[in-house]
């Protein structure tokens, strides 16, 4: 610490203040937050330290702090903060900054997180799918099927390429992230620790320790498993259809279809709980930013339009094509922008949990 030269990044401070961390400057470093936090660890405390680093504008230092990702936004600290500095919200705002900080390419991250440019985000998928629907190859069958307008091979090729790009972007971002983590002393080997870390995430063991918001644990757990199920089914069906051993639409009794519908229902319930929680808490609602809303609406919209187009297809109503179009646009946005949106927290958190795993940390 003796060698620390403080060069405040004023723009960074302004960005944190403007994006969910509006109460940052109220903090007077009493450390109540770190003490009441059930997740804060003995020698890796948060959020007091991160509040200070953010106040000082030490961008590089605070954004590469793995503790940002150990925080699960319980809100216990915010509830007990004697100054109303809302440390839980500030750490959320810092995570948003971190996602943009490590993102590659950076200009995409800036674009995705620019509220004024929100409509342009959908321009590409709208043009793509509108073109495909209007001018793409059309097949006619007895039943109305989505494949008539949106041929499966084209869709799969498109989605796998988009996912591939997202994976590439994540890979670059994670490369930077891990390098930064190592500098910060999070030196546990990542690959061997991924399994226990993921196990912990599957069980939402850390979420269970939250006290202030009793609904967040079940809400996030359901949403997590729902979307994980949907992602799994989508990938398997995608590979299956491309391999030629699966043909959509699958009958309702097909195990994959059952899993898909079940996952969608679970995701919907979970997302509703989280949304209700956010709307119910007035102060939390006020601090909810574009970054939060974008993910909430993309996820909710994708599930709702997915279920709706399935129902309309079963009812054989022609409007099903229109709803499916919206569904495709939303899913495209979800995948394409994942490395730059709040969805990226799933990836960064997993790696941070692995890198900070107890008992395996090397070095001093």
């Amino acid at each position: 610490m003796a060698e620390l030269v403080v060069r405040p990044d004023e723009r960074f401070i302004q960005e944190v203040l403007a994006n969910g961390g509006a109460d940052l400057k109220k903090c007077y470093q009493c450390a109540t937050c770190s003490t009441v936090c059930a997740l804060s660890e003995e020698d890796r405390t948060f959020p007091r330290r991160q509040m200070l680093l953010a106040q000082w504008g030490l961008k590089d230092l605070v954004l590469s702090d793995p503790a940002l990702w150990l925080c699960h936004s319980c809100g216990d600290c915010t509830e007990q903060c004697p100054r109303g500095a809302r440390p839980g919200d500030v750490l959320g705002a810092l995570r948003q900054q971190a996602i943009q900080y490590f993102a590659w390419p950076k200009f995409v991250a800036r674009w995705v997180n620019n509220a004024r440019a929100v409509w342009t985000l959908f321009l590409l998928p709208v043009l793509l799918f509108a073109g495909l629907g209007l001018w793409g190859p059309e097949t006619v069958s007895e039943q109305m099927e989505f494949a008539n307008e949106y041929p499966v091979p084209v869709l799969e090729a498109l989605f796998f390429s988009v996912s591939g790009l997202a994976v590439l972007a994540f890979a670059v971002g994670l490369g930077r992230f891990v390098k930064a983590l190592r500098v910060q002393g999070a030196t546990a080997p990542i690959l061997p620790n991924l399994v226990p870390a993921i196990g912990e995430i599957f069980a939402h063991r850390r979420f269970q320790k939250c006290q202030a918001e009793p609904f967040r644990y079940p809400g996030h757990l359901l949403a997590f498993w729902g979307f994980l199920g949907l992602g799994f089914v989508g990938t398997v069906i995608g590979i299956g259809t491309m391999g030629g051993w699966l043909h959509t639409p699958l009958p309702l009794s097909h195990p994959l279809k059952v899993l898909a519908n079940l996952s969608a229902a679970v995701a919907l319930v979970g997302a509703s709980i989280l949304l209700a929680n956010r709307l119910r808490n007035q102060q939390l609602r006020q601090r909810t930013t574009y970054f939060d809303w974008l993910l909430v609406w993309l996820l909710a919209g994708a599930v709702l339009t997915g279920l709706l187009s399935e129902l309309l297809r079963l009812a054989q109503l022609k409007v099903m094509y229109g709803v499916y179009f919206i569904h495709l646009v939303l899913v495209f946005a979800l995948l394409a922008y994942a490395p730059y949106s709040k969805l990226a927290h799933a990836v960064y958190r997993t790696v941070a949990l692995a890198a900070t795993r107890r008992g395996t940390r090397g070095g001093p």
Binding site: Q29, C30, A31, S34, T35, T45, R48, P82
Partner: protein, 420 residues
């Protein structure tokens, strides 16, 4: 001065009120001193020692009591509450309700009544650390030196004290009286109360008997206190081996008292010296956000720190629990300087609870700030505020404050004479 002039009314008979009354009376004014409790002295009488000199408050109190006794211009009303204040030409009209004492001037404080009294209640004088009877002497050096009966504590129909009193000093049927006082000026000095620690359950108060407030610590250390001045654990009367002070227990906290109570840092440093003196081997830890010892108190802070075995840790205690392994109390905090979470085992945990102004029972006509401190606009020429009901302050500042208020009130007197 002509004898027809109106008195100055002083509300509150603690250090501020007594000082204001004495300064005004010794300058020649008539004074009515209105005290809510059965004896004068206020919070200062409950202290073991003053900071920074570490001397007991008893000598200062005794001097004040003697000055009051010798001064014919001071009239004292105890157990009296001001219900209303209205302005009138040349001053104010105070409506005062005087609760009965049930013990008259014939009382010699012989104590026969206490011997026979069957009713026992927790003693608020010692913040519940001991019990007292329904009939009691407010405190050993009380002025007026006269017993009083807490009728709410009496067993129904009991008149044992009346039968036992050899002087006929007990009047169980005495009724409250209303009195109207016309005054040229009013000085409000109703003082403060410690913040209600029962709201600090996360710091263990009310859950663990060995979590006490700084006010209780003063009683433990006071020679006339429940332990005769010995600092012990309330749970078992043993000497503590480790004492933790929790600063800002409720103060500087939007969820409790948003303001700094200003004296608790120096008070805890002072109390740390009590522990160091009585239990030389005990560990003393003070958890703080900032040590606020302005002005000359900075020297006191350094002086206490220079003695060993006092550990200061920057970080507010946010949790007090009982350790599952050792059964001892633990205070949990983050050491903000090292960034590590700490749990410190303690036998006695002292919460530095803050200052709450005693303004709740005052007439609503007296303007308050958002925190309840009196904030009389300067345009009100005739009502002055002194001591902790104006702002949180130490005793020395209170005395200066009260002297200033006395001068202001005296000016009103002079003005009213000029008009007469």
């Amino acid at each position: 001065m002509p004898e027809t002039r109106l008195p100055i009314a002083v509300i509150g008979g603690g250090m501020a009120g007594m000082t204001a009354a004495l300064e005004a009376a010794e300058a020649g004014a008539q004074v009515v001193l209105i005290e809510r409790e059965p004896a004068l002295g206020g919070r200062v009488a409950q202290l073991a020692r003053y900071f920074p000199k570490l001397c007991p408050p008893s000598c200062g109190l005794e001097i004040n009591f003697r000055r009051i006794k010798q001064n014919p211009r001071i009239r004292i009303l105890t157990r009296a509450r001001v219900e209303d204040i209205t302005a009138q030409p040349g001053g104010y009209r105070l409506t005062v309700l005087v609760e009965p004492r049930y013990v008259n001037q014939a009382c010699t404080a012989c104590g026969k009544c206490v011997e026979v009294c069957p009713a026992e209640v927790p003693d608020p004088w010692n913040y519940g650390l001991s019990k007292r009877r329904a009939v009691y002497l407010p405190y050993p050096a009380a002025f007026p030196f006269q017993f009083v009966i807490d009728r709410s504590a009496c067993l129904s129909g009991c008149r044992a004290c009346q039968d036992a009193c050899p002087y006929g000093a007990i009047e169980l049927t005495e009724q409250p009286k209303q009195e109207v006082i016309e005054a040229a000026a009013v000085i409000v000095a109703t003082g403060w109360s410690p913040y209600d620690a029962s709201r600090l359950t996360h710091l263990g108060f009310g859950r663990f008997p060995d979590v006490i407030t700084n006010a209780m610590m003063e009683r433990l250390a006071a020679p006339d206190g429940p332990t005769g001045g010995r600092i012990v654990r309330p749970s078992d009367g043993k000497e503590p081996r480790s004492v933790v002070f929790v600063q800002c227990a409720g103060s500087r906290d939007e969820n409790h008292l948003p303001y700094c109570s200003s004296v608790c840092c120096a008070a805890s440093l002072k109390q740390a010296t009590y522990v160091r003196e009585q239990c030389p081997d005990a560990e003393v830890t003070i958890f703080y956000i900032d040590i606020r010892t302005p002005g000359r108190l900075e020297d006191f802070y350094q002086q206490v720190l220079n003695g060993d075995r006092i550990r200061l840790i920057k970080g507010k205690v946010a949790k007090v629990e009982r350790s599952a392994e050792t059964g001892r109390l633990v205070a949990v905090a983050e050491d903000a300087l090292s960034g590590r979470k700490l749990t410190v085992e303690a036998d006695l945990i002292v919460l530095a609870t803050g200052i709450v102004p005693n303004s709740q029972d005052l007439p609503p006509v007296l303007a308050r700030d958002p925190f309840g401190f009196l904030a009389i606009p300067p345009s009100e020429k005739g009502i002055y505020v002194a001591g902790c009901v104006r702002r949180p302050e130490e005793v020395a500042a209170t005395v200066q404050d009260a002297t200033g208020a006395a001068l202001r009130a005296y000016q009103c007197l002079v003005r009213s004479l000029a008009h007469a």
